[in-house]
């Protein structure tokens, strides 16, 4: 048994209002540099919709993740030999236009324009070519179902749905899906990187790109089935969500979580058996992957596990944090959080509590007096089709989704009865496999959890790290600190200049990166 600690996140989708605050604060923190304009390490998609980049979920075409071939787990885009043979041209690469062509506006025209009959206009200008362009696609182009009557048909999750689901106004449904890097237990991006520049941190499972070793081979972008590894077209290096490791190491939540208006994010660690991951990711039936992944997690309350974990060097405060972990509770104990697209076989570590709304409407506002016979069949008539949720979170297994929704409904009904002193039919809880205590606990954690309950983040043990100097540059974006013009003050250098390689510099002679 090889015990590893791993950070995970749970998002409670019922609470997401699609405000994009997470995306904005993430962008301000990490991707406000040239070459990263188009990157959204955190983005919020409206589902149904094509997503970002377009049709990222269609991994029959995009070739992200793993598949089982002759009983063996193999990268969908091809193994090591095939990668080296195709290194000169990656035929499965998603081009920047599938995200969008980044643009800015010709603001100067607003000031310099001569007097005219009409107001001057700031025309959009491509940041790739500097030329005027027509905007035909952009980030969140499909926000709040905009144009879904056209784009919705391209949502790969609609493939499994019957024709009955139409995009007609009366039948429309939607939900928000905030996405970050999954920091998978079995990351296919790391496995796709020929240079070994991508790695998983031994201590906390965070997946990072070593900016110094990245050689621009681009296979990670194809390898990631969530399309969460981005290509900086200025520096020619891969970049991705860092799980805000500088904050996490200091016991603070990621910036997307910290600023989440709906307080829907939870961060904690789980202990898992690394020796079990390959086997779990290789199970034949896609629908078994969810259970298989649950099977890799270890019980932090088990004294045997604790003893072994200490022996293997997991700090004791981390074991304690694993016990208090909201991720462990929601995913393993309460089983109401589910992994996103487990069928990609990467064992993702950002899990989701599926959305229930609009629950009241489905029951016609008579929730107080309802019996389980009425409530649970109603789940099938929820606005968001069960099949759709199953396609997102359980590789199409509707049984699991129904069980989760049933629990959420039972918890709500129970709490409503309790708060209003109404009679409550205990059968509702029993049928969902719950007790009063569990319902209460679920309510505490999913509805009113405070900051310290939502984020149980043990600090990293930096005192244990040996030669910090040798790690310099490994973790990613230290060059951001040196970007004088990004930080205000100092000489106003062109930020573009900084990202040129250290040689053949065209703009100034200050010390290049790396020296």
């Amino acid at each position: 048994m090889k015990i590893k600690a791993q950070f995970g996140m749970v998002m409670n989708l019922d609470k997401c209002i699609g405000c994009h605050t997470c995306s904005v604060t993430c962008s301000n923190t990490w991707t406000n540099r040239p070459g990263t304009e188009y990157m959204y390490w955190n983005n919020v998609e409206t589902k149904p919709g094509m997503g970002y980049p377009k049709r990222w979920e269609d991994n029959d075409e995009r070739k992200g993740g793993w598949h089982v071939k002759n009983g063996k787990l193999e990268l969908k885009a091809g193994g090591k030999v095939s990668k080296l043979l195709n290194i000169f041209y990656n035929k499965d690469l998603v081009e920047i236009d599938e995200y969008y062509e980044p643009w800015t506006y010709d603001y100067e025209n607003l000031i310099n324009s001569p007097e005219k009959e009409h107001q001057p206009v700031a025309r959009p200008k491509s940041q790739l070519t500097g030329e005027y362009m027509d905007i035909t696609w952009g980030p969140n182009w499909e926000d709040d179902l905009a144009g879904v009557h056209e784009t919705g048909h391209h949502d790969p999750n609609m493939k499994n749905l019957d024709e009955q689901i139409k995009f007609e106004f009366e039948e429309t449904f939607m939900m928000y899906l905030p996405r970050i890097c999954e920091h998978c237990q079995n990351p296919s991006c790391v496995s796709s990187c020929p240079s070994g520049a991508m790695y998983k941190r031994e201590e906390d499972g965070i997946v990072l790109v070593d900016q110094e070793s990245c050689r621009s081979w681009r296979f990670c972008m194809t390898g990631c089935p969530y399309k969460k590894v981005y290509f900086n077209w200025k520096t020619h290096k891969a970049e991705k969500c860092t799980f805000c490791f500088p904050r996490i190491e200091n016991g603070e939540p990621t910036i997307c979580s910290e600023t989440c208006v709906g307080r829907l994010r939870y961060i904690g660690i789980v202990l898992y058996d690394a020796d079990k991951v390959l086997e779990a990711a290789s199970v034949e039936d896609e629908k078994d992957l969810y259970e298989a992944q649950l099977g890799t997690f270890l019980d932090p309350y088990d004294p045997e596990i604790q003893k072994e974990a200490v022996k293997q060097g997991i700090p004791e405060d981390w074991i304690e944090a694993a016990q208090r972990s909201p991720v462990y509770r929601l995913a393993v104990e309460q089983k109401i959080a589910l992994p996103l697209h487990p069928e990609y076989r990467t064992m993702p570590m950002v899990w989701y509590i599926p959305p229930l709304s609009p629950f009241m409407n489905a029951l016609g506002g008579q929730v107080d007096s309802l019996s389980p016979e009425v409530i649970f069949p109603t789940i099938n008539q929820f606005r968001i089709p069960i099949d759709y949720l199953a396609s997102l979170f359980t590789a199409g297994d509707t049984k699991v989704i129904k069980r989760v929704l049933q629990k959420l409904v039972a918890m709500r009904t129970y709490m409503r009865a309790k708060e209003l002193n109404k009679p409550f039919d205990k059968k509702i809880l029993e049928e969902a496999g719950m007790t009063d205590d569990i319902a209460e606990e679920m309510y505490q954690l999913s509805a009113i959890a405070k900051y310290d309950d939502r984020y149980v983040i043990p600090k990293s043990h930096r005192e244990d790290s040996g030669d910090m100097f040798s790690h310099q540059g490994n973790a990613g974006y230290d060059f951001m600190e040196a970007c004088r013009s990004c930080m205000g003050g100092g000489a106003a250098a062109d930020p573009l200049e900084y990202y040129e390689s250290g040689f053949w510099r065209e703009l100034d002679e200050t010390s290049p990166k790396g020296v």
Binding site: F88, P194, S216, E506
Partner: protein, 243 residues
């Protein structure tokens, strides 16, 4: 032996190779961040496909051809029974095909670089310098094979350029071979001396990615872990791999 001969066939190679080796060492140590293949596929891929694939595969075989023709002594071929006729047949046909691949692929890459707006805007001076220098060396070299050797030219680079190059590499240039170089057809002279100019700028361009061909990947575990802690118990889990 004129001063020009000494410059071209002794000084230039040594200066160039010194810059080539030191340049790579220094850049590798101080500019890991800039050491990339500088792929532009993300910005434009339709026109890259043919050019890049054909060019790169071609140049691999061209490289192997140069090893066979210049670095391996003619006597070795004779010893294993590969005679002049067989060698020349191979050199002209295989070398010719690889050469065509490089010229055609390179031409497509060049066209792409000068006509696709996104690529133009995101090219540095070094990209153009590398491409143009490489293009000239390739064109001159290809002309030698296709226009001279294949049409019955009687200059045998295996008894002139080959030995001279090996003498340079073993630090014992001889007057005889320098004179042999001075007497070589102008095409061959140009190809060799321009190649050395290319080697001198090589470490400062994107061409360094040649040395990053990630063969290590073949022997690596799929998932790479890096540890913060200094104690190395398990070799697999701590290695920092740079190609």
């Amino acid at each position: 032996m004129t001063n020009l001969d000494i410059f071209l066939w002794v000084i230039l190679p040594y200066v160039s190779l010194t810059i080539f080796i030191l340049g790579h060492i220094i850049r590798y140590n101080y500019d890991q961040f800039g050491w990339t293949a500088k792929s532009s596929q993300f910005l434009e891929q339709k026109r890259l496909r043919f050019g890049s694939t054909v060019f790169h595969w071609g140049i691999i075989f061209v490289f192997l051809g140069h090893v066979a023709g210049v670095l391996i002594p003619k006597q070795w071929f004779d010893a294993i029974g590969i005679h002049d006729d067989m060698y020349h047949f191979g050199a002209i046909w295989f070398g010719g095909i690889a050469g065509i691949a490089v010229v055609v692929g390179g031409f497509f890459l060049f066209l792409r670089r000068v006509s696709v707006k996104r690529v133009i805007k995101n090219s540095s001076v070094s990209d153009y310098v590398a491409l143009i220098m490489l293009g000239i060396v390739v064109l001159v070299g290809f002309t030698n094979t296709a226009g001279y050797t294949a049409t019955g030219g009687d200059f045998d680079y295996r008894v002139t350029i080959g030995p001279w190059m090996r003498e340079i590499l073993t630090f014992q240039p001889s007057e005889a071979m320098i004179l042999a170089m001075a007497g070589a057809p102008i095409g061959f002279q140009l190809h060799v001396s321009l190649a050395f100019v290319l080697f001198a700028i090589w470490p400062f361009t994107r061409l360094v990615h040649v040395f990053s061909l990630p063969l290590k990947y073949l022997r690596r575990n799929y998932v790479v872990y890096r540890s913060n802690k200094p104690v190395i118990k398990n070799k697999d889990t701590h290695k920092k791999e740079i190609n």
